[in-house]
């Protein structure tokens, strides 16, 4: 029971209070880059969730069975980048061959997130927090879902911005950044909510 509770707490924390985009400010590039339309935003988020889960599943054993026993924990960053990049390439080739429809849906976004800091961030944070495999996967899933929530929310904000009469000096990136900061502040409202529910 406590384990389920803890897993749920980790999941909700990763989605709401410790949102990767809006509280940790990881993966800001896709946040500003592909959030113009709802469908590209959700497509990108799906690809991020997929790659994050895959990366965690592969880097966890590498870290725990190769790096840590040999005292090479300081190589985490470089090894993780290497492994994730190769993995994404492999996934891309496989998808192109066997699931062309999924490839054309994710295709453009997959190479984009090969070395995205959100993907690298989640695997390193899992290690730093000392999570076991199940906790790592749940935390990763939460981080990915949080990414999706933030992207979809912000895409909605930007679609509304499109039809607004923005002063000339604020048009384009400036107003987008202001909107991003406001969206980020709105997530502060979730602070403490997880402790309140599961604590």
């Amino acid at each position: 029971m406590t384990m389920t509770k803890e897993l749920l707490a980790i999941l909700m924390t990763a989605i709401l209070t410790e949102n990767f985009l809006l509280s940790k400010f990881l993966g800001i590039c896709p946040f500003l880059g592909v959030s113009k339309k709802l469908n590209t935003a959700s497509g990108m988020s799906m690809a991020v969730i997929f790659v994050m889960l895959l990366a965690t599943a592969v880097t966890y054993p590498i870290n725990n069975f190769i790096l840590v026993p040999n005292g090479l924990a300081y190589l985490q960053t470089i090894v993780f980048i290497l492994v994730i990049a190769a993995l994404v390439q492999l996934v891309e080739i496989t998808l192109k061959k066997y699931i062309p429809s999924l490839y054309s849906a994710l295709g453009i976004y997959l190479p984009l997130i090969t070395t995205n800091c959100a993907v690298l961030g989640v695997v390193i944070l899992n290690v730093d927090n000392g999570y076991n495999f199940a906790y790592s996967m749940v935390n990763t899933l939460g981080a990915g879902l949080g990414f999706l929530v933030a992207m979809v929310m912000f895409a909605g904000v930007r679609e509304r911005l499109e039809s607004c009469d923005v002063p000339k000096f604020m048009q384009g990136l400036p107003i987008t950044l202001v909107a991003a900061s406001l969206t980020s502040i709105s997530f502060l409202g979730f602070a403490g909510i997880v402790d309140g529910i599961f604590g």
Binding site: I62, I66, N70, L72
Partner: protein
């Protein structure tokens, strides 16, 4: 130190081997014919051909899903010849065309019935009493077509959209976008008469709405010796196949809603006029 180097290199080599094997085992054959056709197409992905961009058209041609090589109006006859040679199909002529906005309802000609302060979009404004102008058929001038145009050929001049025929590639993106259905393709290098109005109200009402609106008086029909003009629903329409561009209809028209234009020869200045 040595162990670190070995571990990283081993992981790197394993990853490289995996990718190398995967790229051979799971290689997807690339359609060379489609690639070649794709190179000849303009690459604007405007969708004039009706396929999903240039890649879609190239793939359809190479797979034989379509045998029509004249669908790319931006590329014209030249591209048709080239892609026909690659695909082993017959080339065809594409008569150059350009789009025209059939409205003269600028601030001088057409009055406004309401002050619109909502979202600056023709699609939205249409839903509120058919737009801010008196005439519910005319151009609203918020420029939905400007957004749609992949060639940057449209701009708004005194509340009415105008298309630069020399920049227009006849991709029909604006035609699909215009909520009033005001935009039409016309031959680019032939002088043809055209009715710059689509108002279907009765004459008396049209006169109140716009000074340049077609009132359906039939004078152009009588003036035309070739039977090229027809009036339907109180609005004249020219058949470009029959019209020779003599200009008699223009002389007869009391509101000058009908005009003879040769799009390709219009100086940029006068595009703003029509």
């Amino acid at each position: 130190m040595v162990l670190a180097i070995i571990v990283v290199s081993v992981i790197g080599v394993i990853a490289a081997l995996m990718l190398a094997v995967a790229s051979i085992v799971m290689a997807v054959p690339v359609d060379e014919k489609a690639e070649k056709i794709r190179e000849e197409l303009p690459g604007a992905n405007c969708g004039a051909c009706g396929f999903s961009g240039c890649d879609g058209y190239a793939a359809a041609l190479s797979k034989g899903e379509t045998t029509c090589t004249t669908l790319c109006s931006p590329g014209g006859s030249e591209v048709s010849k080239k892609i026909a040679a690659i695909a082993g199909l017959e080339a065809g002529e594409i008569a150059p065309q350009a789009a025209v906005v059939l409205c003269q309802g600028n601030s001088h000609n057409a009055g406004t019935k309401l002050v619109y302060s909502g979202v600056k979009s023709c699609k939205m404004a249409t839903q509120l009493f058919g737009g801010p102008k008196d005439c519910i058929y005319g151009c609203i001038g918020f420029g939905d077509c400007i957004e749609a145009c992949p060639y940057d050929a449209i701009h708004i001049c005194d509340g009415v959209a105008r298309i630069n025929p020399l920049a227009c590639r006849a991709c029909k993106a604006c035609i699909k976008t215009c909520p009033k259905g005001l935009i039409e393709l016309m031959p680019l290098h032939q002088a043809k008469a055209t009715v710059l109005c689509v108002n279907h109200d009765k004459g008396a009402l049209t006169r109140k709405e716009c000074k340049a609106g077609c009132i359906g008086c039939m004078k152009c029909v009588k003036a035309c010796e070739y039977g090229a003009v027809k009036v339907e629903n109180f609005c004249a329409k020219v058949d470009y196949d029959k019209c020779i561009g003599c200009g008699k209809c223009h002389e007869a028209c009391p509101v000058k809603a009908i005009d003879v234009i040769e799009l390709g020869k219009l100086a940029l200045k006068s595009i703003n006029r029509i």
